[in-house]
Symmetry: C2
Subunit: 336 residues, 2 copies
């Protein structure tokens, strides 16, 4: 690896001059500039960004922390953010929880050791206290997609999950469904991960003087296979629902797969509504009705916030964007 010293020696100047030439700073005579450039080329020089990072105190790297890239929802977010970050001259470290023993705290810690310039966190699996502790020595952090945005000691960005759940419920109710099932994700302690979405559904039911029927509530992990397994349970029990709200699209797709195996026609025999609006939801058969989270908007706002936060510490603020109903063909009027 050739260094600026190699070039300096070859060109008969000092390292500073080489640095000045390469960075375009200071003033250098065009003669030496040319000479330096030529040797840089000849010696196939490439700057060592590690050294530059050390001195600048900036690495030009952002950390992304989220549960699993296997879920297209996060894959799409990663794609969008990587693109935007790249345009701003940043690289991305991906850190997912799929790493077995890897706790959120460890992941954050490691990113800090590597001196990333900022971090975007998705997931409730990391407590706000821990994040706060990391953020204190000014590690810029943007916290995304928390279900219920509380007062947050650092900048946060989310969608209105409650409203989304409500939209889903209202949609099914307006189609005449009263026997509504729920496919959702709870923690081991029995709390809903998708708690705000569920509360939104409950609020919608309440306006019809209905309550969530616990026999129609099934719990799985936010992925397609569990969605199918648990969906099958939901569909094979005695008094099965006429419509199901799956709190994310992957579970909804799993549910549709279960329905297909059971020869239950969608939407004739069963309406299904998802949540997220991932790209592939437009291409299932039938196309999924879902609550859309605008991923491009999310990515743009998050990266923007983060880059600002890196420049000068940002006052903690919370942005909550609206969720939207995205009509498909997986929901239809109740048939008696």
């Amino acid at each position: 690896m050739t260094t600026i010293y190699d070039i300096a020696r070859a060109a008969g100047v000092t390292a500073t001059t080489v640095s000045n030439v390469l960075s375009g700073k200071g003033s250098v005579s065009s003669a030496t500039r040319a000479r330096v450039m030529q040797y840089a080329e000849e010696l196939n020089y490439s700057p060592n960004l590690v050294a530059r990072s050390l001195i600048k105190g900036r690495t030009g790297v952002l950390g992304l922390v989220f549960p699993s890239i296997d879920n297209p929802f996060y894959a799409e977010i990663t794609a969008a953010m990587e693109r935007l970050a790249y345009q701003a001259g940043f690289r991305i470290f991906v850190s997912t929880f799929s790493n077995g023993d890897q706790t959120g705290q460890k992941m954050l810690k490691d990113l800090a050791l590597r001196r990333v310039d900022g971090v975007i966190i998705f997931s409730a699996a990391i407590s706000l206290d821990i994040i706060h502790a990391m953020a204190l020595p000014h590690l810029p952090i943007i916290y995304c997609l928390e279900e219920e945005m509380q007062a947050c000691p650092f900048p946060a960005l989310s969608y209105n999950f409650f409203q989304g759940g409500q939209l889903a419920g209202e949609h099914l109710l307006s189609l005449g469904h009263r026997h509504i099932g729920l496919l959702t994700h709870m923690t081991d302690e029995g709390e809903y991960c998708h708690v705000a979405r569920v509360k939104g559904l409950q609020a919608a039911l309440a306006t019809y003087n209905l309550e969530l029927d616990s026999r129609l509530v099934k719990n799985g992990i936010s992925s397609v296979e569990p969605g199918k397994i648990v969906g099958r349970e939901l569909l094979t029990q005695p008094n099965r629902p006429t419509a199901v709200f799956a709190t994310n699209d992957m579970m909804a797709i799993g549910l549709m797969a279960a329905a297909w195996e059971l020869n239950i026609q969608i939407p004739r025999d069963l309406s299904v509504i998802g949540f997220d609006g991932i790209a592939i939801s437009r291409f299932t058969t039938p196309p999924l009705t879902t609550i859309k989270i605008d991923i491009d908007r999310l990515a743009a706002e998050a990266i923007n916030l983060l880059l600002h936060n890196i420049e000068n510490p940002l006052s903690s603020q919370t942005i909550v964007l609206p969720a939207q109903l995205l009509a498909g063909a997986s929901t239809g009027p109740l048939h008696l």
Copy 2:
């Protein structure tokens, strides 16, 4: 940010001793060890991995270069590799071509500047010459998933795409199909990106004395939306095929969506076979018959090769793994 000097000053020792304590090297009296540890804790010390990287000449970072993380195939690969890399103490930079102007060469160059310890490349979009040039100053590179593995000047790893295409063709032929369509991905110059898969199909056809009917060949980008658009063209033309080989699963899913809109039943009216075996292909309706690339195997072999290559330059070698038919319900016997 506290440094080892801060600790040294507080503990009344020198930075060397602190370094020794923290790294567990050298020999330090248990008294000073304890003292140093205590101050490290108290001052909330965290080592600067950038500095360590500079001195060690190792960053503990691997670069992953591929076309698009939006395709679940690559998302799954990324997930698997990230997990394995993490276990070996490495972080991952993701670099995708979705970055507009970003050429493969630029991406590689940038990863080199950042002094990644090694790179895994997917995609034919980077010429072997360029990769070779990068690999020369010993940047360990593993080249993955080239359609037709030629003699490669650096370690490479692929699946037998020709055989995969052949399996797909044989499968459809054995079901009685003779009027077989192809949904594939070509470059602007008209070359097939999925050239080996197509050749495999042609080989299978040849054993039945058949040839690829150019009217039944449609070209799109390896994604679900183009698959649907182009699939619709294929299905609405006069003499439509009874079976279609889509050279990746996302296009196959797009094709199935087009069939659904046209009220063409799968597999009764149309057989569809895909390629890749992405997770979601097991949950489409009907589940997709496809040619499976074992992603976990691929990830494990690639990471292994790369880590070995990092330790000591590896002789260039090419591993080609077999592709497998994964039966679904999207293909069935020809109905007349």
